[in-house]
């Protein structure tokens, strides 16, 4: 897929909490084709501490309104600067980068999309894409507390939503791996994105039930296009770049102990 460097305009910046912001970007030109699971490298302007671009998952693409959505978790100076962007400001992005989640060949396949915290971001676009292809979509979303469950009504547009929180403030109490839906159904495909311990636990569950499992990694990156070789992960084929060979990996490719 051809990659672009684009200047997009902030159309909306919605504060979801003091930790999360939803950026809605647009352009006069039609947005390029972007696949679920891909990411963008965002240039952070006007920061004395941020030097490199920041890799951010594509949360959603709306081709009718020509909108690109990014879900930002405020962690350091770079994401803070992004969350402070004002409507009308220009953001420079490289996109679309990386590979994408794979689509099941069997239209009857039972699918589960599991996200933790800000890791839910790419699953919205994936769920929308899968629903448009006629699949039944099930989201399983986990967080520490109800304030970590983001964009709930958006996920509900595209499928069933199951929730766990560690403090029990929303959905079932516990971790995503403890949710009752995992015992009630047998899934063929499990897509996941979130903290590594969560993804490893999900991968282990998937292996047990013989489901195909794809995880999205978020290693620290410099270039985002396979030039610097900084973001590698260890696979059965040796070190490969997460930015080009990933961010989505089938768990059978990774050397995870699960």
């Amino acid at each position: 897929m051809k990659k672009f460097m684009l200047d997009l305009v902030i159309k909306k910046n919605i504060s979801l909490s003091n930790q999360y912001a939803l950026l809605i970007l647009t352009s006069h030109d039609k947005l390029p084709e972007i696949l679920p699971g891909q990411f963008a490298e965002i240039r952070v302007d006007g920061s004395s501490t941020v030097f490199l671009r920041r890799p951010i998952s594509i949360h959603f693409v709306d081709y009718e309104t020509n909108e690109l959505w990014l879900l930002i978790q405020i962690i350091g100076d770079g994401t803070k600067k992004m969350a402070d962007l004002k409507v009308g400001e220009i953001v420079n992005l490289l996109l679309p980068l990386g590979n994408s989640y794979s689509i099941p060949t069997n239209s009857e396949a039972k699918l589960l999309l599991v996200g933790g915290g800000c890791g839910v971001a790419p699953l919205l676009y994936l769920g929308a894409h899968l629903k448009s292809l006629g699949f039944d979509v099930n989201f399983l979303i986990g967080g520490r507390s109800s304030t970590d469950i983001l964009q709930l009504c958006e996920y509900e547009r595209f499928g069933n939503v199951f929730i766990t929180t560690e403090d029990g403030s929303l959905g079932e109490k516990g971790f995503v791996t403890q949710h009752s839906v995992l015992r009630a159904s047998n899934f063929d495909y499990i897509y996941t994105c979130g903290p590594t311990p969560m993804m490893k636990a999900i991968a282990s569950y998937a292996a047990k039930i013989n489901a195909i499992c794809e995880v999205s990694l978020e290693n620290t990156m410099a270039c985002g296009i396979g030039a610097c070789l900084c973001c590698v992960t260890d696979t059965i084929q040796g070190h490969v770049c997460v930015c080009t060979e990933g961010p989505v990996f089938n768990i059978t490719k990774l050397k995870w102990q699960i």
Partner: protein, 303 residues
């Protein structure tokens, strides 16, 4: 339009802008963003005789105005380059140079012999300055004796342009430059990265898997500029300057300090089209100051 053509050692370039090894892949990574054949020269990823997996993750730490890397020369080896990369890169209409590294002198020689046979590769950049490999690499470039020895041995088998990349992690970079010049280097490029480190205070752990790594980016520019100036004063062969060049003004500063050409490295990660902007910016500078040829600004700093 000023004349940007320049001869550096045995190389004839359409402009003095090259890409630094390890920051531009094999060129194709950037071809969606621009016409890469406009660049004066592309120095491809550091290549060794045999495949190397490089260092474990994490390999990178962002630092003030720069970054540390500890990639450790991950590459598939020279034979893979010849079979799988060369057939594609040889069609790019510019100078494609291979950055060659090794752990022992015999490896350098064997790989240089193989590269000498590639018609479309007009030169190599001999890397005697990588700070991220356990043995060899930088060790060759930090003493005059070993730097001279590896250049002498490679020069014996490599007939085309031999650029030698110098380490800044030395007491006197000029002495190393003089030593490799005496053994037949066609040019020297400097600086490779500066040895540095970063710590995560909360976790009380080093950020890089190797603890130390190589610092690049604008943080190192003043040091690089000083070293380029000193080396250009000392040697007769051309000097290629690099270290934190982010724009045309930075590039021009290196040329005024005595560099015949420049390389752009870390800046490619922030703006994949920066090389083209630097080429156009040099042209604009030359026109604005009434220079007809880019060669006129080499070492033109007035004291």
């Amino acid at each position: 339009m000023a004349n940007l053509d320049i001869k550096i050692g045995k190389l004839q370039l359409k402009n003095p802008v090259l890409t630094a090894s390890g920051t531009f892949g094999y060129g194709s990574e950037y071809s969606d963003f621009m016409d890469i054949s406009r660049i004066g020269g592309i120095i491809v990823k550091g290549t060794t005789l045999r495949e190397r997996q490089g260092n474990p993750y994490p390999r990178m730490a962002e630092t003030p105005s720069g970054m540390l890397n500890a990639v450790g020369l991950q590459n598939k080896g020279v034979e893979y380059f010849v079979k799988n990369i060369y057939p594609t890169v040889k069609n790019i209409d510019t100078n494609i140079l291979v950055n060659l590294s090794g752990s022992i002198i015999e490896d350098y020689i064997e790989a240089a012999e193989i590269l000498n046979e590639l018609d479309a590769i007009p030169g190599i950049e001999l890397n005697i300055s990588c700070p991220n490999v356990k043995e060899g690499g930088m060790a060759f470039g930090t003493s005059c004796l070993s730097a001279a020895q590896v250049v002498r041995e490679v020069r014996r088998v490599y007939k085309k342009d031999l650029m030698v990349k110098l380490s800044p992690n030395v007491t006197s970079i000029s002495e190393i430059a003089l030593a490799v010049e005496a053994e037949g280097a066609d040019s020297v490029s400097l600086i490779n990265t500066l040895l540095g480190m970063a710590i995560n205070a909360e976790k009380r752990k080093p950020i890089l898997s190797t603890i130390t790594g190589g610092l690049s980016g604008p943080a190192v520019k003043p040091i690089a500029l000083r070293m380029v100036y000193q080396v250009a004063q000392a040697v007769k062969i051309p000097v290629i300057g690099l270290g934190g060049i982010m724009n045309a003004t930075d590039a021009i500063e290196f040329m005024l300090a005595g560099a015949s050409g420049i390389q752009i490295g870390t800046a490619n990660f922030i703006d994949p089209t920066v090389t083209i902007k630097v080429i156009d910016g040099i042209d604009e500078y030359l026109n604005r100051h009434g220079y007809k040829n880019v060669t006129e600004i080499i070492g033109a700093m007035e004291i």
